[in-house]
């Protein structure tokens, strides 16, 4: 019987909500990894038995990646450190920000974006990772600055058909593209502004604080980006970007997601401003565009109507592979909401959780 899962990585543990394929009601497991920060989660549906991955900060005891091959009922962790910087780098893993299974054509490849700014690649389904040296060796690296959350490589974008195409997104280094499987990288931030910089430096080659980038697999040349300042669309796979923020209450926010069934439909969760990170007017509202960013509509049916001050972080909005596709987001107030009608209405999946860092969902056969 089909099972739906929503994984919620929080500041204090991992929550797993389970439902049937209808996804109308949810049962929530007792917390996994209680009191540990679960900063990244992934559901690898390419395997015969789906594998769940979780990036965990074990408090005093360092950072690691755990996996489950029974849908999160039991967990394992390799004896060796799944992600470790080579000795030559002089660096040490601080946090896992992103776990990204590659497309189906690369069945055992998983990417991990980490802090400090680095990309790792696994070829065994996430049990062991190697540093993508080409990005680490990039001459810009010493000029990448930390974002507010740290020196993080927080987003990895892969191409549905071309395993040589990769995008790595960093706060605050900007977006970088590789066209040769990660051997070499070039900045991909043309058109993205850096407000506050002198006029002649308003559009730097790199260093922008990109918060999230999303691609629809049926239109891989089109990308959407939610930046620290600005919401953007690229029609040339990241070579250049145009602003699509008209109609939004603010151009600041963290997540951006494309609807799996509608390549022109995207969602974000604006915040008032970078110095005022609460929802505009204190209202919990998702914003949706149905025309690839040409216009935006506020969505609030089923969301809290009371004053709401909690943000949605960059990895905390996602979709599942169901039909219809489910949309989910989790807030720093520890609430997770889902929608099965393109955001027209929402209902609670889980509430009264620790603050939410990362959400992933899947409907499994």
């Amino acid at each position: 019987m089909a099972e739906a899962l929503v994984l919620v990585g929080t500041r204090k543990g991992l929550i797993i909500a389970r439902s049937d394929a209808g996804r109308r009601s949810w049962d929530v497991d007792p917390m996994h990894f209680a009191n540990q920060e679960v900063s990244a989660v992934a559901i690898d549906t390419r395997r015969d038995t789906p594998r769940i991955l979780a990036g965990i900060s074990w408090g005093h005891w360092g950072t690691s990646v755990a996996y489950s091959d029974d849908l999160g009922h039991t967990w394992q962790e390799p004896d060796h450190a799944p992600i470790a910087f080579p000795e030559s780098t002089g660096a040490a893993l601080a946090r896992v920000w992103q776990l990204h299974p590659a497309p189906a054509g690369q069945p055992d490849v998983v990417y991990a974006g980490v802090e400090p700014h680095a990309l790792f690649r696994s070829e065994d389904g996430g049990l062991s990772f190697s540093l993508v040296q080409g990005l680490w060796d990039h001459p810009h690296r010493t000029q990448w600055r930390p974002g507010g959350g740290g020196a993080c490589l927080h987003t990895v974008v892969t191409h549905p058909e071309d395993p040589q195409w990769l995008m790595a997104v960093m706060s605050a280094g900007g977006a970088y593209r590789s066209l040769d499987g990660g051997a070499t990288w070039n900045p991909a931030n043309r058109g993205i502004s850096q407000p506050g910089a002198p006029e002649d430096q308003r559009f730097p080659e790199f260093g922008q604080c990109v918060h999230k980038v999303a691609m629809h697999p049926s239109r891989p040349s089109r990308l959407f980006a939610q930046n620290h300042f600005g919401v953007y669309r690229s029609e040339d796979a990241g070579a250049s970007w145009v602003a699509i923020e008209d109609g939004l209450p603010s151009n600041f926010g963290f997540p951006i997601v494309v609807h799996p069934e509608h390549p022109d439909m995207l969602f974000n969760f604006p915040l008032e401003a970078d110095m005022n990170r609460i929802p505009p007017s204190g209202r919990c509202r998702v914003y949706r565009s149905t025309d690839a960013g040409g216009s935006w509509q506020a969505l609030s049916v089923g969301l809290p109507s009371e004053t709401y001050y909690a943000a949605v972080l960059r990895d905390a909005m996602t979709t599942d592979g169901g039909a219809p596709a489910g949309l989910y987001f989790g807030t720093r107030l520890g609430e997770v909401y889902g929608s099965l009608d393109c955001g027209d209405s929402w209902s609670a999946v889980a509430t009264r959780l620790p603050d939410v860092l990362s959400v992933r969902a899947a409907v499994l056969p």
Binding site: W61, G62, S64, H80, L93
Partner: protein, 91 residues
């Protein structure tokens, strides 16, 4: 030299449930290297991939607290107790 490494309760899952582990080495660094060879899943909770003690980990060698990287050269006498503990820190 052989010593006893005392495992804190929060790390016992990484030590197969053991409260103590027998380790070999003339210095703390050698003891932790030995631990890493035999129980890597435990050792990497104590040191990072650079071989440095994690920032909020305390180690006591026969009651003497080890603080600095250079203190990894602290001698470990025969039969000594190496106590690992989470620092009372974090705000």
């Amino acid at each position: 030299m052989s010593a006893r490494l005392v495992v804190p309760s929060s790390l016992r899952a990484s030590a197969g449930g053991l409260r103590e582990v027998a380790v070999e080495g003339a210095t703390l660094r050698a003891v932790l290297d030995d631990l890493g060879a035999r129980m890597p899943g435990l050792e990497r909770r104590i040191r990072d991939e650079r071989g440095l003690l994690r920032p909020h980990v305390l180690v006591f060698v026969d009651g003497l607290m080890v603080r600095a990287e250079s203190d990894l050269d602290t001698p470990v006498p025969e039969g000594c107790e190496v106590l690992v503990a989470p620092a009372v820190s974090g705000g």
